[in-house]
């Protein structure tokens, strides 16, 4: 079983590029006047960009990318439905054997940390 830690800085760069590109596309999209719609779209872009930056090599990112392909809502599981267990928190967690779940969790956490750092940087950089 692969317990390779992700290369944090390469994930950060790949995520940063994809997310900024997604935000640019969003800023040009019509119908973004609605504040809540903008928020949901941004949130979705963040999640998708992270999964895309990781690619298909991990089960959790594959699970996120599969949900997009099926056009199922990405939102609504983790924030509106507070989950107490790991399987509910890690994307694709329900279908994994326990050993994989633990490995995927460690990778997922590192990626979330990278995502938070990049988004914080974007915030500071884009302030007028």
């Amino acid at each position: 079983m692969n317990i390779q830690p992700p290369n944090s800085s390469s994930i950060k760069s790949r995520f940063a590029v994809k997310f900024v590109q997604a935000m640019k596309r969003l800023s040009k999209r019509r119908g973004m006047g609605d504040r809540y719609k903008r928020y949901r779209a941004t949130r979705a872009a963040a999640r998708v960009s992270l999964a895309a930056a990781v690619g298909p090599e991990r089960a959790w990112s594959r699970a996120v990318l599969r949900r997009i392909k099926k056009r199922r809502g990405l939102i609504g599981r983790t924030t509106t439905n507070p989950r107490r267990n790991l399987r509910g928190l890690v994307p694709g967690g329900k279908g994994m054997d326990y050993c994989s779940l633990l490995s995927e969790t460690a990778h997922y956490i590192t990626c979330l940390q990278a995502q938070v750092q990049v988004m914080q940087d974007m915030l500071h950089l884009s302030s007028p």
Partner: protein, 89 residues
């Protein structure tokens, strides 16, 4: 927390606990004096869930603030410089 084990691989309890302790390395270190004490597996799992929820909420909150920048056009204005700076990570 589900205690289901994979049917394909018969993991011993030691192997599972070993993986859980490795997970602990991903969590933020606690600064209190009990950090040297070996934590129980269930405690680590609990802390892991709490930490993941915290990170996911941070992403949501950051998305909220960044989405406001969409409207004001700030994202577009600085984007080339933004990407260049971010890629120096």
């Amino acid at each position: 927390m589900s205690s289901r084990r994979g049917s394909a691989s018969k993991l011993t309890e030691d192997e599972v606990n070993d993986l859980i302790f490795k997970l602990q390395a991903s969590l933020p270190h606690e600064s209190n004096s009990t950090s040297n004490k070996k934590r129980s597996a269930s405690k680590i799992l609990e802390r892991t869930c709490i930490y993941i929820k915290k990170l996911q909420k941070e992403v949501d909150d950051l998305s909220d603030v960044l989405s406001k920048r969409l409207a004001s056009g700030d994202i577009n204005a600085a984007d080339a410089e933004l990407i260049a700076t971010l890629l120096q990570l």
